[in-house]
């Protein structure tokens, strides 16, 4: 006999930590993810996730909590990206790809060496793919605090970020320090990626950043609503993922559950696919716009 809420779900310490941290992560990633998609910086998010992987692996090697590795590497990566202007110049894609490949190579080395010395085979899996059930309770305050700081930064900058995404010149002409705003935003993005890496692993972290945001952008046309919808989608996927992962311990007699990250990412994908089923009333306008473009091109 199986229950939807298996016995012990609500009294389990790891589950409570997972729900708390998962919610903070989902809200932070959801809100910042919308701005990332609007600004066309999904690639920056992905790059930061790769760099964070190296940081997490390095932290594991020297015996520090992986969140600090994710965070330090992510913030440093964001600073370097800003310096060399990765997000501006398309031509740097190749160089970026090579550097990120090297970063992941270093992560492989760190994980290998770390596993040799500490003989905890699960650690590398946790860094790459996360596990919300093994988050150490003493990092929880730091996780929550960094989420709040990142959210505060984008809340303060939200108007300026939207104006800049309309056109950097437009914002600069209005006296916006476009570059400084871009740096602040990249730092917030690095924090969001690090948090997401703690929850669902460094490799999967962009799924929680981009997936709910992409879903939200399909169902709403207002910036504030999109952020709320994205945060909600991410939170729902996280909660449901935790529930299913906990339940999955009882699915077979082996007593081995499936990873939370799998469920969260799968649910994010399902939400995204569902957003295609429900289309807002854009058909008429989109049709007209397409028609106008056709006239321009052919006329």
């Amino acid at each position: 006999m199986h229950y939807i809420f298996e016995p012990g779900l609500f009294s389990s310490g790891p589950v409570r930590t997972a729900v708390l941290v998962g919610t903070v992560v989902a809200v932070t990633s959801g809100v910042i993810g919308v701005l990332t998609v609007i600004r066309g910086q999904s690639f920056a998010g992905h790059s930061l996730a790769d760099v964070a992987t190296t940081g997490g692996a390095g932290a594991f090697l020297i015996g520090v909590n992986q969140f600090w590795g994710f965070l330090i590497a992510g913030v440093a990566g964001a600073a370097i990206m800003e310096l060399i202007g990765v997000q501006r110049r398309r031509g740097r894609d190749v160089a970026t790809g090579v550097v990120l490949g090297a970063a992941l190579g270093a992560a492989a080395l760190f994980l290998y060496l770390g596993t040799q010395t500490s003989s905890t085979t699960g650690a590398s899996f946790t860094i790459l793919f996360g596990s919300m059930f093994v988050i150490s309770p003493d990092t929880v305050p730091a996780l929550i605090a960094s989420g709040i700081v990142a959210l505060a930064v984008v809340a303060v900058l939200s108007r300026v970020l939207l104006l800049t995404s309309l056109g950097p010149d437009l914002a600069a002409a209005r006296g916006v320090p476009v570059r400084a705003v871009g740096i602040a935003y990249l730092m917030a993005l690095a924090v969001a990626v690090s948090l997401s890496a703690v929850a669902i692993g460094a490799v999967l972290s962009t799924a929680l950043l981009i997936g709910p945001a992409a879903t939200a952008l399909r169902v709403t046309k207002r910036p504030g609503l999109a952020m709320a919808a994205s945060a909600l989608t991410g939170t729902a996927a996280t909660w449901l993922g935790i529930l299913l992962a906990y339940d999955s311990f009882y699915w077979s007699s082996s007593g081995r559950g499936w990873p939370v990250s799998f469920f969260v990412v799968a649910l994010v994908l399902i939400a995204y696919l569902l957003s295609y089923a429900r289309r807002p009333s854009r058909g008429r306008r989109a049709g007209r716009a397409a028609e106008a473009r056709k006239v321009l091109v052919e006329g």
Partner: protein, 284 residues
């Protein structure tokens, strides 16, 4: 509500450029460009593609420091900061995806205070201001549509509303008529002419074809080869003035109220219509 431009009617010049020169990467883009724009004046900034029109607008906006010369706003040198309050700007192209979650009214609303920190709380006054700006450009019909899904002409109207909602005295537009059909062109020119007339905004609009502007522009700044000739349309669009500017023989033909500028040499592909080519591609 106070009407800021009425308090300084004594100043007859909103904008004055004095001997502006710009060199970029060793190349001379603009040389010794001078002109003025007054309140309510609708001035065309005309010239072939690549003549330096956008650079000139960027100098006025403070985005491009000139190598020589100065920009005066309201009779005073352009301040390093704060000059932006006087100027509304409509860039040539928006970086907007159809999926971007911004309605036309959100874009206009960003015109009020999009350059400030924090996020705006919705209020009746704010909504009224946005509606009023949308009405002024006749865009209220698609106020709630995603701006990325609007046609080029509709987007231009929304951006004009975005630019004028903060009540600038000067409005700069970078090729707002590019890639528009004839009706959208006429509609936008009419809206701009009315803003200039009713709100006494000085409008400086860049275009590679002066003809859509002819009915409304009072003055023209013609840029070619890095130099500019400015004055009333009839004083500038003359064979001798433009020949001196281009440095080669140029003829000006007037056909049924339309002006065709014909350079001596055969027009190159990509040459702007009205500044070298003989007819408009749409045959109008």
């Amino acid at each position: 509500m106070t009407v800021p431009w009425k308090t300084e009617q004594a100043v007859q010049e909103l904008l004055r450029l004095e001997g502006i020169s710009v060199r970029l990467g060793g190349r001379e883009i603009l040389r010794d460009v001078s002109f003025t724009v007054g309140p309510g004046e609708f001035t065309g900034l005309i010239g072939p593609n690549g003549a330096g029109k956008t650079t000139l607008l960027r100098v006025i906006l403070g985005l491009q420091p000139p190598t020589a010369g100065r920009v005066l706003l309201n009779g005073r040198p352009r301040p390093r900061r704060g000059g932006e309050r006087l100027i509304g700007y409509v860039p040539q192209k928006l970086a907007i995806d159809p999926d971007m979650p911004l309605r036309a009214r959100d874009v206009v609303s960003l015109g009020i205070d999009g350059n400030r920190l924090g996020f705006p709380l919705p209020s009746a006054a704010r909504r009224e201001l946005v509606d009023e700006a949308l009405r002024a450009v006749e865009a209220e019909r698609y106020a709630d549509a995603r701006v990325g899904e609007l046609s080029g002409g509709e987007q231009q109207r929304v951006m004009i509303a975005h630019a004028v909602i903060a009540r600038p005295r000067l409005l700069l537009l970078d090729e707002p008529l590019a890639n528009l059909d004839l009706r959208s062109e006429q509609g936008i020119v009419a809206v701009l002419a009315r803003l200039a007339r009713e709100q006494r905004i000085g409008v400086l609009i860049s275009a590679h074809d002066m003809n859509p502007l002819m009915a409304e522009t009072s003055a023209v700044v013609y840029v070619a080869g890095g130099r500019a000739a400015a004055g009333r349309t009839g004083e500038v669009i003359r064979a001798d003035v433009l020949t001196a500017l281009y440095g080669s023989q140029v003829d000006v033909l007037r056909v049924q109220g339309r002006v065709i500028v014909v350079a001596g040499e055969a027009p190159q592909p990509g040459d702007p219509v009205g500044a070298g080519a003989v007819a408009r591609p749409d045959g109008s």
